[in-house]
Symmetry: C2
Subunit: 449 residues, 2 copies
């Protein structure tokens, strides 16, 4: 090697891909609000001129139409990333996070919500993937090994300092170190508890629901989830079928996917209480902090859960302040990436609310497991009443797919954020030019002719 | 005319334009959060095959970078619009509104917030422009003439029925009819009160601030507004200068453009109280309902105003439920268009909170005046404590620009929503291919060479 230092290593490209899977054809993923999703990823790869060849991969998850808008939003961020020193980026992804959120012209399109904010999340998560790959650690381990002071420096406290100060965050992280080594050992042996939604899609008939629910329990899951909210009589029947299939000892969550107004949510949930639902998820608009608080007060002891569509830390802060939540459901790809999810995990810890992530879709399981494992090792210190959603879709498109054993997520050991999609999947499912879609569109033309 | 009916008239095209004005070069529009906006419009034209030649014009307002993402979002909606019967669309724009909000795949990108929701607003507003043009009325008049039942049918009550039911909305609109004819006469004579922000941009020095503030009072404005929030000492000086320029009888609002956390907002506002600010606008995140409530409780009698970045009716509902607002600031182009703004006007009426619209930017004054005039004629029935923001930028790019007389918006009489931009402005400021930008980019290349 030459003793003269070479030019600094830079990010050289921010490449985007519009990747769509035709999941609507099987009614996988169907619920009361989303009858026919085509699970999709607005996918981004940060490339560098480093000799190590590492790339940072990230994505926003969407359900089909509009994925091109999400890709355009990621593309709009490229000038903030290209040319950055890779050493500086990986030493402090928080600066990239702040620069992206702070672009005053792009901020107008949110602020910190919707398409632009999910795009920031994709790019920031890609930076963390690169950081972890270069550190040679899975992301959960990189975060759990990090100094509390450094983790606090990664958080944007703007708009949450009335609920969580940097000093409070530091205290939580310092306390979190006690016993972390024992927890790491347990995590590597046992994994992190999962629950499964695979049985409960609205598009499945009672026979399939029963079969999949029984199988879930046999597979070691201690919690299942059912979609509800389209038709009350159907929901009563399906809850009865599912409860009878799994027996009384298994937790059964129900999920309305924002279908109801406040009063309707209360009535409907009460009508299902006899089947002992553990939580009611997304009973109404994810924007309605006060509505969730009213619902929670009315439906107890059924717990209230939400978060997969909660746009940012400011809304999570209020859900906690208002006592609107029993269960906080982070999503790895909805908010502004790892940095904002660190803030949300610490807010949840401050308010003593368990975090049970949303997952499924494309790659959401792969990402979010890292955050829960960090939460267990370094923040909450427990897996009691904590479960990560698991859906058995589309994992084989990833190089480092999740591993589920006896109803637990096994800790990934490959360096990175488990975000890297197989090149052949990208080539096949890129829309509309990938081999799958090109053939599909061609055959539709054939039918039309 | 032939007695045989022809084929139904349809929407034939949804054309989009990326239009950007180089306003950052003059520091017009500079505030503590937005130091260098390039006022822009993601512009949409609905074309039909009707013989009358009417088009529906609408837009999202942005401040520069990312306008192409906003254009892509509008483009993503085109299949919901093209081919629609124009008669049906104009008889019931609410169905288009519900169809756009209800697209389950696109909904994932919000829901009802950010880029996708602003895109829906642009398309829905364009449909209302077309509706009003075909009716031969300015939009304010079309709305004020409409049956209360029909207006209620235009509103999506989802997620707000716990605060406002269709029956309550109907009652408000029926009561609003009393005296409407007298108010229409007064409106046509006197116009609707305005306040001006033209004096108070952060980028202006004290001399320019004084000169413009004095001029505003001479021009008949009874309220001005100052941007604050970058530096407290500067703000104290500028508030003193402005108060001394206008005297004690003129209302002086201050606007922090979301710069502060909750505690900071309280401290900073109190430090400016000696200059008798009428309202503090956007003291913190527009998402922070509970934060606004805390600020309002602490800074009274200074009023709290927000809304230009409030994403939808669900957040406005909560701001009202929580008693977080003294002044509700609708924006014509942030939420999902006229239909959602009808809901917001009625929510404000239910909670007895005056509506003082945000305007400025590109074309926001042109649009929002129609909504305030409708509010005066048919909902609130008063202009007491109601003022529409006025900024004297970029009006000459519109075919039917606002007319201000003695500090009042004069009621437009041209049919439509005043949204139509001059063709020559579109040709000049389309980015990057319009004549202005092509020459500008060319000259930059020259400098670089």
């Amino acid at each position: 090697m030459s003793p003269i230092p070479g030019p600094p290593v830079r990010v050289t490209a921010v490449d985007t891909y519009d990747i769509r899977f035709p999941t609507s054809r099987e009614l996988d993923g169907s619920d009361a609000m989303n009858p026919d999703p085509d699970y999709s990823a607005a996918y981004v790869v940060l490339r560098t001129d480093a000799a190590d060849g590492h790339e940072g991969h990230g994505f926003s998850f969407t359900i089909g139409r509009g994925n091109e808008v999400q890709v355009a939003a990621i593309h709009a961020l490229r000038d903030h990333v290209i040319g950055r020193s890779v050493d500086e980026l990986c030493a402090d992804p928080g600066t990239l996070n702040r620069d992206l959120i702070g672009d005053s012209q792009l901020r107008w399109l949110g602020p910190e919500k919707g398409v632009m904010h999910m795009a920031i999340g994709a790019v920031v998560n890609a930076a963390w993937d690169l950081t972890a790959k270069r550190a040679g650690k899975p992301l959960w381990q990189l975060l759990a090994d990090a100094d509390p002071e450094w983790l606090v420096s990664q958080i944007d406290f703007r708009y949450i300092s009335d609920a969580l100060t940097p000093d409070e965050a530091l205290d939580i992280l310092r306390r979190g170190r006690a016993g972390a080594e024992d927890r790491r050992t347990r995590l590597l042996e046992r994994g992190f508890p999962a629950y499964t939604t695979s049985a409960g899609w609205l598009g499945y008939d009672d026979e399939k629901l029963t079969r999949l629910a029984v199988q879930a329990v046999r597979d070691g899951f201690r919690q299942i989830k059912l979609k509800v909210g389209a038709d009350l009589d159907d929901d009563i029947r399906r809850c009865r079928v599912a409860r009878s299939a799994v027996g009384p000892g298994i937790r059964m969550a129900i999920d309305a996917n924002q279908r109801w107004d406040v009063d309707e949510a209360i009535r409907w949930t009460k009508a299902l209480t006899e089947f002992d639902p553990y939580w009611i998820e997304e009973p109404t608009s994810p924007d309605d902090v006060l509505g969730h608080a009213a619902i929670r007060a009315a439906v107890a002891p059924v717990k209230v859960a939400t978060g997969e569509h909660v746009q940012n830390r400011v809304v999570f802060k209020q859900l906690l302040q208002a006592g609107a939540l029993d269960i906080l459901q982070i999503d790895a790809a909805r908010v502004g990436g790892v940095n904002e999810n660190l803030a949300i995990l610490l807010l949840a810890a401050k308010f003593n609310v368990p975090v049970c992530p949303h997952a499924g879709g494309v790659g959401l399981c792969e990402l979010v497991q890292h955050l829960s494992m960090f939460d267990y090792l370094a923040v909450s210190g427990t897996t009691d009443d904590r479960v990560i959603e698991y859906v058995d879709h589309l994992h084989d498109h990833f190089l480092d797919p999740v591993v589920i054993r006896e109803g637990h997520y096994m800790a990934p050991t490959t360096p990175g954020f488990s975000a890297t999609m197989r090149p052949e999947s990208i080539a096949r499912y890129t829309f509309p030019g990938g081999t799958f879609w090109a053939a599909d569109l061609n055959s539709q033309k054939g039918h039309a002719a």
